[in-house]
């Protein structure tokens, strides 16, 4: 009896510690975004929404938010499309050196973002391509393509082969098989790859910093804010981003994953 109580208490303590460890920084961030004062550090002086007002009034910050959104959306779309095509080719066709090709596709995952960014910078300079949001997007496709490929490739099981074969048998061309059968069947993993890659792109700093010039993404803008010292405004923008992510996650949980979870 006592033993059970001890075990159950210990597991509750453990769970509290774990979740505290994960969420305390976020809670602190959100709390001090409402700080009535100039510094986002204890003590908490009182509740105020002045920093949110300041964020919405900051044109540069709002522009960076939009830039981040555009880059995340387009780079993830391209990474998913390329990842899907590569996975389809390697899973369904006998290609020369397919193990090597798979390895090469996944290899960028092991390379540090700094190296990728420096490499891209050199290449872009050599071709005389000016830095812009598009070059940031290219960088994000480079880092997200391996991820998208790996997720989609791993979900392409052999049990799908006969289904595609049936579609072809009923008169579907290769492109129709891909668009009408393969992609819809793999939609859960394609969406997982897409949203993961949106998250990574949204958060990414090094590539965004090194490959952008005048238009910058949110992490870069926040970084330049931080250079002028701690400011509750950064907490406010951070909280906003966090709340949007939570909202998107909830939306997905209640619509998409609820449906596909059953099948």
């Amino acid at each position: 009896m006592l033993r059970n109580v001890l075990i159950s208490t210990a597991s509750w303590v453990y769970a509290t510690l774990i979740f505290g460890f994960i969420f305390l920084p976020v809670a602190v961030l959100v709390l001090f975004s409402f700080q009535d004062g100039r510094l986002p550090v204890p003590p908490f002086n009182g509740f105020s929404t002045q920093w949110y007002t300041a964020v919405f009034a900051d044109r540069k910050l709002m522009a960076a938010l939009l830039n981040s959104f555009v880059v995340a959306l387009f780079s993830s779309l391209i990474a998913c499309l390329l990842g899907f095509l590569a996975a389809y080719a390697l899973a369904r066709h006998k290609l020369p050196g397919s193990a090597l090709q798979r390895g090469l596709l996944i290899a960028p995952m092991t390379v540090s973002y700094l190296i990728i960014a420096l490499g891209l910078l050199t290449v872009l300079n050599a071709f005389g391509i000016p830095l812009s949001l598009s070059t940031v997007g290219i960088g994000h496709v480079v880092i997200n393509l391996p991820l998208c490929f790996a997720i989609i490739y791993s979900s392409m099981g052999d049990h799908h082969v006969n289904i595609e074969r049936a579609a072809r048998d009923l008169g579907a061309s290769d492109i129709k098989v891909m668009v009408l059968v393969t992609a819809p069947m793999l939609m859960p993993s394609i969406l997982a790859a897409f949203f993961l890659s949106v998250t990574f792109s949204w958060d990414e700093f090094i590539i965004a910093f090194l490959l952008s010039r005048f238009d910058v993404t949110l992490p870069v803008e926040i970084w330049s804010l931080l250079r002028s010292g701690l400011n509750p405004k950064t907490n406010a923008i951070g909280s906003l981003v966090f709340q949007v992510s939570v909202a998107v996650l909830m939306l997905l949980e209640f619509t998409l994953f609820r449906k596909t979870g059953k099948s």
């Binding site: 074969r165 049936a166 009923l170 008169g171 099948s263």
Partner: protein, 366 residues
């Protein structure tokens, strides 16, 4: 629609392995053909070649008189019903069944109506708005059948479609398949390793083994008059009794066996004319044994045997017997429910001469 199928000298090799070895087969339009054999016998390879998923290494395929050997599956007048159903998991049943029509450019309203008609044919019209994961195995099977038939194929290829169903449902689906085939008139080519299923549905059975056709014929023919030892053994339980042709005359032949000498009509030799000195094997089904001395003229006696074991099977007793003439042989015989048999008892084995089939013994290299 329906069409005849002709396979000429089809051979398929995968590296060193010969999956299909010089197979020729003519199927009439509207026939229900079952390819029967153990796994690895080449039946699925032959079906894939008919469907266009594999190209034969050698040989030709024609369907409805048209050359099809290297035509893509999409351009053949065939559809395949796959073993794992292969339904589109993200589509409603109506869209699953209408998929082939959509690929043929039929307008949505027309193809929906036709799809509903075919769902009706398999008794699932009410479930048209459901998705495959909401159905039982037997229902998915029916959807797969409706989807394959919806495009009016000349030939429907069925790849062990009933393999995943339990026994009772399988028997029920066999009857339905046969009834639907009669209604639509399409040529069905059905692959299975279950000889009871084959007999239940086939117009003609093609028994295959090691890439070759062993026997072709109507179910009763194959069972009663098998033309190869493999075919005899695969279609059901059978006693093989070795013997030797002692003498041949124009209407009959004398055969010496360990159980005695007997005279059998030439028609008992289903795999070709006998010759004196030939090593042969007698094939006798367990249910063909009769009680000796019932006064029927053409009974052949095989001497006395001792009962070594028996079990009641409902419709009959299945008995193990040790013949006196050959104690190392074990004979299996079915006795009627009314038979009062006990272990150790001696019985006289007898069989109608017309029920015995004599086949050449397997040569060492075969």
């Amino acid at each position: 629609m329906t069409a005849a199928v002709s396979v000429q000298n089809a051979t398929k090799t995968f590296g060193m392995f010969t999956a299909l070895n010089d197979v020729s087969l003519d199927i009439e339009a509207g026939e229900f053909i079952v390819l029967l054999g153990p796994s690895g016998c080449g039946k699925t390879t032959l079906l894939s070649i008919l469907g266009g998923f594999l190209s034969p290494t050698n040989g030709r395929i024609s369907i409805g008189g048209r050359e099809m050997t290297h035509v893509q599956p999409a351009n053949r007048p065939t559809t395949t019903m796959f073993q794992d159903y292969a339904l589109f998991p993200h589509m409603k049943l109506r869209d699953n069944v209408g998929f082939g029509l959509r690929m043929r450019g039929m307008a949505k309203a027309a193809r929906d109506e036709k799809a509903l008609g075919f769902l009706d044919l398999v008794g699932l019209r009410a479930a048209a708005e459901k998705k495959p994961h909401e159905l039982s195995g037997g229902q998915r099977q029916r959807v797969a059948l409706a989807r394959a038939l919806a495009v009016d194929p000349d030939v429907l290829l069925l790849d062990e479609p009933l393999g995943a169903l339990d026994l009772k449902l399988r028997r029920q689906m066999q009857d339905e398949l046969k009834a639907i085939q009669k209604r639509v008139g399409t040529t069905f080519v059905h692959v299975t390793h279950d000889q009871e299923e084959a007999m239940a549905i086939a117009d003609r059975i093609v028994v295959m083994n090691q890439g070759r056709i062993e026997d072709i014929g109507a179910p009763a023919d194959i069972y009663m008059r098998p033309r190869s030892l493999f075919s005899a053994g695969f279609m059901g339980e059978v006693n093989f009794i070795p013997g030797r042709v002692a003498d041949v005359d124009p209407v009959s032949a004398q055969i010496e066996t360990a159980l005695g000498t007997m005279t059998l009509a030439r028609s008992a030799f289903t795999a070709g004319a006998p010759f004196a000195g030939q090593a042969v094997t007698l094939c006798i089904r367990p249910e063909h044994f009769r009680r000796a001395g019932n006064g029927t003229a053409e009974l052949v006696t095989l001497g006395s045997a001792q009962m070594t074991g028996q079990a009641f099977f409902g419709t009959h007793y299945r008995c193990h017997l040790r013949p006196q003439g050959a104690p190392d042989l074990s004979i299996i015989a079915h006795m009627p429910q009314s038979a009062h048999v006990s272990e150790g008892e001696a019985v006289t084995l007898a069989v109608h001469a017309g029920d015995v089939v004599v086949l050449p013994s397997a040569t060492k290299d075969a």
